[in-house]
Subunit: 231 residues, 2 copies
DNA sequence: GTCTATATCCTGATAGAC
DNA sequence: GTCTATCAGGATATAGAC
């Protein structure tokens, strides 16, 4: 009790790595226990089930990140009437990129896993995620509302959604950016990442209200290809 | 040959629906064939393997979307020296939202599936996606470079990455936005979605260059929780 | 707490009749 | 092209010795 089982930690570490590389569903308990040097039955003993292990892996790194977000948010707005928008954005997006692990490689993997789980198709995993995340989202929603008092509520909800999506995708898929930029961008450089991400998001949050822009032109539908078409 | 097998279409339809609801990996061929009223062996006959079916499902709806993107891009910039930024953004993000299927419900499901596949963990699925997508990405990258001639190349790559992420997440997870906005946002309204999304992205793309903003403050690391800590 | 051994079920794929 | 029947293997989970 005073010193948690080393096996348990190693199971979490191995699961985190394998989940990130291959996804939750494609990773078997056998792979995990083998990589951790543990027995197959140990997962059920420590975590009850595979689902319990997934939840434990996820909560282990999302907990500190959300705590740091709230801490930075408290420093940033401190009940001010008009808190600094950039500081709020930074409080939201910086912690997951600054997550540190014993090894930097593992920190990057955890970040990727975090970003990908944002848009997982599996409903039960989605539930784990949403439960941990929605409190943070609401707290930041209120801060953004104070920082952008003239923005209608609907616009604010949309933009918070966009902001989360931008962050999640940036975390989820750093390799593609590195490859397609021909080496011009280095997603492993946290400071560089934030120096691009934060201004992009701040500008987006400050965009003109949607009711002041012109309507959408050319609403041409994209036809779905069907096997048979009337001709 | 003249009339493609009805079974084949029904398999694609059923697979699309189930893949969207439960993910690729969690959906079995038995579920698909049962839903399609077909035999288990029919998948291997028509598509060779489950992987072949996944690729076929994906290509069926991503092909027309990318074609429409390129068509709209051609209309928008037409080799102009300084094409309209908003038109380029719209050419990129509008087609997937305007994708139409025989039933509107299915169109929404296809859109969700598309958005989620952007950040799939499975490497072989990722490959299917990237192959279809990178040509479009390069073409749009060139158009953005013409529309934003003063932006350094690295900034451009970063922002294109952000833009794609915002779009993907918006497509992937419409339900959460609807729930958390308390009904203020309606993600099923395509015009409303675009009227919020496009200004956000245009403003982000026009943000100040990253080398003109102040450096990042407070690089405090988020500590990873470990079982044992030196005390 | 950790192990072996096993139960039970489901997966993708295929052989071969029709 | 479509079917039935089946194969070979992997999945999670558990019972029970130590």
């Amino acid at each position: 009790m005073t010193v948690p089982s080393d096996r348990k930690q190693r199971l979490l570490d191995a699961a985190e790595t394998l989940f990130c590389d291959n996804g939750f569903h494609a990773t078997s308990l056998r792979q995990i226990t083998t990589a951790a040097g543990a027995n197959l039955a140990s997962v059920n003993y420590h975590f009850g089930s595979k689902h319990g292990l997934i939840a434990a892996v996820f909560e282990r790194f999302v907990g500190p990140i959300n705590a740091e977000r709230l801490r930075m948010l408290h420093d940033a707005d401190g009940d001010a009437e008009a808190p600094d928008l950039e500081a709020i954005v930074r409080a939201f997006v910086a912690p997951p990129f600054r997550f540190r692990h014993a090894h930097q490689e593992r920190a990057q993997r955890a970040m990727r896993l975090y970003g990908r789980t944002h848009s997982t198709a599996d409903p039960s995993l989605h539930a784990i995620f949403v439960r941990q995340f929605d409190a943070v989202r609401q707290r930041f929603g209120a801060a953004f509302a104070r920082a952008l008092p003239d923005l209608p509520e609907a616009d604010l909800s949309w933009r918070l959604h966009f902001l989360i999506g931008t962050m999640a995708q940036t975390m989820a898929d750093p390799d593609r950016l590195a490859a397609l930029s021909g080496g011009a961008c280095d997603p492993s450089d946290v400071d560089a990442t934030l120096s691009h991400l934060v201004p992009f998001l701040v500008a987006g949050m400050r965009a003109p209200r949607s009711d002041t822009v012109s309507p959408n032109p050319a609403p041409r539908a994209v036809a779905a290809p069907r096997g048979r078409r009337p001709s």
